[in-house]
């Protein structure tokens, strides 16, 4: 009998397998139960919900039988990457990101019936429409926020999709929100980051002068400029967007310090917009040597930047070095603040950016009525076209807006991206 009993332990093996399987299930349930439940939830819970913009304009409405969006096609397309769709094709859209809250789901209670849950957004659907028209048929990412409150007011990514038209053939990468989920070579717009690091770490940087002959060799590797800028101050070097000066500055700052600032400004990590994860950027963090570091300091090399992270940076500069973490939810909560740089650095950098606009971008002739602080960027894509950047903020307490415009395959930043920014800012200043 004992023999049989000993052998009976083999049944324990089966029991262990069952217990292991149940554990696997429970872990998966905790991890993915939400998406499982929500897949077929709405038909069964009959929850209803609405997504509204900051002025109460309807962006989406659903009940058990309906998946509706705005009745206006332009509104639907211009706000597609904000709302996303009911099938989750754009995971960063609020209809996907906040679906479980709107539907009513939690791990403990499972799905619940939610009667008209309302999601109020800080986005202004009208500003999105205006920006969408300004973009025309280009591929672009446009972001605008209030740097004093953190409210994200405009977010457009093109090509876009009409979510109410299921038969539409989407454009290239139309489901990707270029503002949050894409990274681009930053080009000269990255000089703002190098400049911030330099102001904080190089003594008397404003008294120094930089010399540019159009070409400069670092350890046998040439660094080139479009023009020869000859002798220039730090301010002039930024407005000239002088590669040679900024390569020298980056080398002077040193790789470790550059990496520290780039990391502190959030460029290397995925950021979170109300829990929606954005793309992480890139900067040489392993030792690369001076020539490569010089190129990295002017936004070339392997640098990649997500437009959203650039928005956080210019917003911090605009707000005296303190970032109000962007939010899409209009819930009256105090913004989360974090210091990016000293107030003095922010002020000096802001002045330099304003000097850019006044001295090189046409000042108020081109941007009437705006006290604009900005920087362009033009990163070559190798096919004759560029990624054109325009990033900055309004130095205006009544209209504290920071913005980033990126045009994929555009020409120069000032010709492709700046006009979109101008149209958007003019509309925002006029409206608010």
């Amino acid at each position: 009998m004992k023999k049989i009993t000993t052998r009976a332990a083999s049944v324990l093996l089966l029991a262990m397998l069952v217990i292991m399987g149940m554990n696997v299930y429970i872990l998966r349930y905790i991890d993915q139960g939400r998406s499982w439940a929500l897949t077929f939830a709405r038909l069964n819970t009959e929850s209803t919900g609405t997504v509204l913009d900051r002025n109460g304009e309807l962006l989406a409405y659903f009940d058990a039988n309906r998946n509706d969006y705005s009745s206006d096609q332009t509104t639907r397309i211009a706000n597609y990457h904000v709302t996303g769709d009911y099938w989750g094709r754009t995971p960063t859209g609020v209809l996907t990101a906040f679906w479980s809250e709107m539907q009513g789901y939690s791990l403990l209670t499972g799905t619940t019936h939610n009667e008209n849950s309302v999601l109020n957004l800080t986005i202004d659907a009208q500003l999105n429409r205006i920006a969408y028209y300004a973009i025309h048929d280009q591929k672009a990412a446009v972001l605008m926020m209030n740097y004093k409150t953190g409210e994200l007011m405009a977010m457009i990514s093109t090509p876009s999709v009409d979510p109410a038209d299921p038969d539409e053939i989407p454009g290239d990468g139309a489901y990707i929100n270029r503002c949050l989920s894409a990274v681009y070579a930053p080009g000269s717009v990255f000089k703002l980051v190098t400049a911030a690091a330099a102001i904080e770490t190089i003594p008397n940087i404003f008294e120094r002068s930089f010399y540019c002959e159009g070409e400069y060799e670092v350890a046998g590797v040439p660094i080139t400029c479009i023009d020869a800028h000859y002798t220039q101050t730090f301010e002039q070097a930024l407005s000239n967007s002088c590669n040679i000066a900024f390569a020298q500055i980056a080398i002077r700052v040193g790789q470790d310090t550059m990496v520290k600032y780039v990391r502190d400004f959030g460029f290397l990590d995925r950021q979170s917009l109300n829990g929606i994860k954005t793309a992480a950027g890139r900067f040489p963090t392993e030792f690369v040597g001076d020539p490569e570091l010089g190129w990295a300091g002017v936004g070339q090399s392997i640098d990649l930047v997500c437009p959203y992270t650039m928005l956080r940076f210019v917003a911090a500069v605009g707000n005296g070095g303190v970032l109000c973490e962007p939010t899409m939810l209009l819930n009256g909560e105090e913004p989360v603040r974090s210091r990016f740089m000293s107030a003095e650095t922010a002020e000096r950098l802001g002045e330099m950016m304003n000097y850019n606009v006044v001295s090189h971008y046409g000042g108020e002739d081109v941007f009437p009525g705006l006290r604009l602080c900005a920087k362009t960027g033009t990163a070559e894509r190798g096919d004759g076209t560029n990624n054109s950047w325009f990033a900055g903020f309004l130095d205006d307490d009544a209209h504290p807006y920071a913005f980033v415009v990126l045009v994929e395959g555009g020409s120069f930043g000032i010709t492709s991206a700046a006009p979109i920014a101008n149209t958007l800012l003019q509309a925002a200043v006029k409206k608010y």
């Binding site: 083999s10 399987g21 998966r28 077929f40 499972g110 799905t111």
Partner: protein
């Protein structure tokens, strides 16, 4: 009123979870706290030592796992088997020992020799005297053993009853009015049934009610599933449950007598094969598998009855385990069953049989090599099956990828998982789920249905109930009277666990979706009948004092009034002994 209803609903959910947990804990506790002491049937005096004979079947040998261990020179590791039949006749068998066995000077063969009180057994030169125990002394010994029922079974059953009433209340809130009387009647009859079984057991002085309580718990969940998904069939469900419990009692009573149990093994094997043959030839194809037979309006699955027969036939007494070392006839029987099921197209059940086969053959032979050989053989056969039957291959293809095609190959599993997650920990309330309207929700996806309506906690209790029964079977096996009961109990639980695993993990996409039933809970009459009948094997292994109705009490046995003319061994006795 609405407010009150939702308040009661929430309240009942919490109470039901607490009761479920408590029922499980009480059943497990009674298992842990009670000693499963074996009985003492006789003594063997070797030199100055008096060794107790603890079972009906005892292995004598030098091996550590021998029941009567004689660590003496020339004694083989497994030397002899000392066994008792129902009528109290003791027989000693020489199981191919090197040193040999003699009784009163007569050489014992593997076919055994009948023993009398005081007989001298010579084991490879060492003498042992066989001493029977007179009835008065045995009663005294028996009185020393701990009786079952230390953790009050009445209270556990009361908890189950309250659980059932709350469950009924939830159904009352959610069911359609026209179905309410039938549902109420079903739950009330279930309560009446369990209490009458319990009281009947008390009348005959049996207090071990763990198996029944857990089986009734699972049956209750099955009743709830039926009330949600097929409320129009409640009367049928009541009848089936009553029939199942009746068969359970009948089976337990039948198993009390090991002799009649053994005699029927061959006829039952034949009947099982016949049933499968009829099934292969003449049955309706339902959903790819031809495993249904129609009988005057009732359709039933022969393979479910064959499960019971399979274990009945597969279990074996200890003397047979050692006397017939090869499992040839059992392997042929198993292979025939599995092939028949494969022909029918019921691959899930074929797999269940196969795993049970592995367990039984390991329990009987102790040989891991045999198990590996069987697994590799089956792997080959499985490979062939997959290549011949494309729809099985398709199930494997969609396994792990069900979310990629939620409208076709992953239709059922994705809905099952979604519904299961919808329920959260506490469930939507009995009858309030949506999965029930999906095809096969109440059978293949029943775990998800319970998750959705009653919550993950109760669904886990449902799994725990079967695990508890498994530990119960293993624990009883150690003190069981006969290897037959021990093997049958362990085989039963491995069969049910395999079914559980295939059912639960299949619907949750952790295993391919094979469509077998969850024991007791899945809707299906033949499945319920077979599960209850299988429980009789568990009862027959439980030899605690005053515990199981399927075990005869010691004091009703008459070991010292042997009737030598009776018993199967008698015919096999050598001429000299018969005298």
């Amino acid at each position: 009123m609405d407010q009150f209803a939702s308040y009661m609903m929430t309240f009942s959910k919490f109470v039901m979870i607490i009761l479920s947990a408590s029922i499980m804990v009480r059943c497990i506790r009674s298992m842990l706290r009670e000693k499963y002491e074996p009985e003492t049937w006789a003594y063997l005096r070797v030199g100055r030592e008096t060794l107790p004979v603890r079972h009906w079947e005892n292995l004598i040998g030098r091996s550590r796992s021998a029941d009567i261990r004689l660590d003496l020179e020339k004694i083989s590791r497994v030397h002899a088997v000392l066994s008792r039949n129902d009528r109290g006749n003791w027989v000693v068998y020489d199981i191919f020992s090197k040193g040999g066995v003699w009784v009163n000077g007569l050489k014992v063969s593997p076919r055994g020799i009948l023993l009398q009180d005081g007989d001298v057994i010579n084991l490879a030169g060492h003498t042992a005297r066989f001493l029977a125990i007179p009835p008065e002394k045995r009663d005294k010994l028996e009185a020393k053993r701990q009786p079952a029922g230390k953790v009050s079974p009445t209270l556990t059953l009361l908890e189950l009853t309250v659980f059932q009433l709350f469950l009924l209340m939830q159904h009352a809130f959610n069911a359609k009015e026209e179905h309410l009387p039938a549902i109420a009647l079903a739950f009330v009859s279930l309560i009446a049934l369990e209490w009458s079984v319990y009281n009947a057991m008390r009348v005959i002085g049996r207090m071990g009610f763990e198996v029944e309580t857990l089986a009734f718990y699972l049956t209750t969940l099955g009743m709830s599933v039926a009330a949600s998904s097929t409320p129009e069939d409640m009367y049928k469900q009541i009848l089936l449950t009553a029939a199942a419990v009746f068969l359970f009692v009948l089976g337990g009573w039948w198993l009390r007598n090991l002799h009649r149990t053994s005699v029927l093994r061959i006829p039952i094997a034949g009947a099982a094969l016949l049933l499968l043959a009829v099934n292969v030839v003449a049955s309706d194809v339902v959903l790819g598998a031809r495993n249904w037979l129609e009988f005057g309006g009732y359709s039933f699955q022969p393979s479910e009855l064959v499960k019971v027969a399979y274990i009945y036939v597969g279990a074996s007494t200890l003397d047979l385990v050692f006397r017939r070392r090869n499992l040839f006839s059992f392997i042929v029987f198993s292979a025939t069953c599995v092939i028949a099921l494969a022909l029918i197209g019921d691959f899930g059940t074929a797999l269940v049989f196969f795993v049970t086969f592995l367990v039984i053959s390991f329990l009987r032979s102790g040989s891991i090599a045999t198990v590996f050989l069987a697994i590799s053989g089956a792997g080959l056969a499985g490979f062939l099956a997959v290549s011949i039957r494309p729809y099985i291959a398709q199930r494997f293809a969609s396994w792990g990828h069900v979310w990629e095609d939620i409208y076709d190959t992953g239709y059922q599993q994705t809905r099952a998982m979604s519904a299961a997650a919808s329920g959260g920990l506490f469930g939507k309330g009995a009858g309030a789920g949506w999965l029930k309207s999906v095809f096969a929700a109440n059978t293949d996806m029943v775990f998800a249905m319970v998750c959705e309506e009653l919550g993950l906690v109760i669904a886990l209790c449902m799994v725990l109930a079967l695990l508890t029964l498994t530990f119960f079977a293993m624990r009883s096996a150690g003190s069981g009277r006969s290897a037959y009961y021990a093997i049958a109990a362990c085989a039963t639980m491995s069969l049910l666990l395999t079914q559980l695993a295939l059912n639960v993990f299949g619907s949750l996409d952790l295993l391919p979706f094979t469509g077998v039933t969850f024991p007791f809970v899945s809707r299906g009459g033949s499945s319920l009948l077979s599960c209850w009948m299988l429980m009789a094997f568990l009862k027959s292994a439980d030899s605690r004092r005053e515990a199981s109705f399927a075990v005869r009490p010691v004091n009703r046995m008459n070991d010292l009034s042997p009737r030598p003319e009776y018993g199967p061994e008698e015919s096999r006795l050598p001429e000299e002994v018969r005298r």
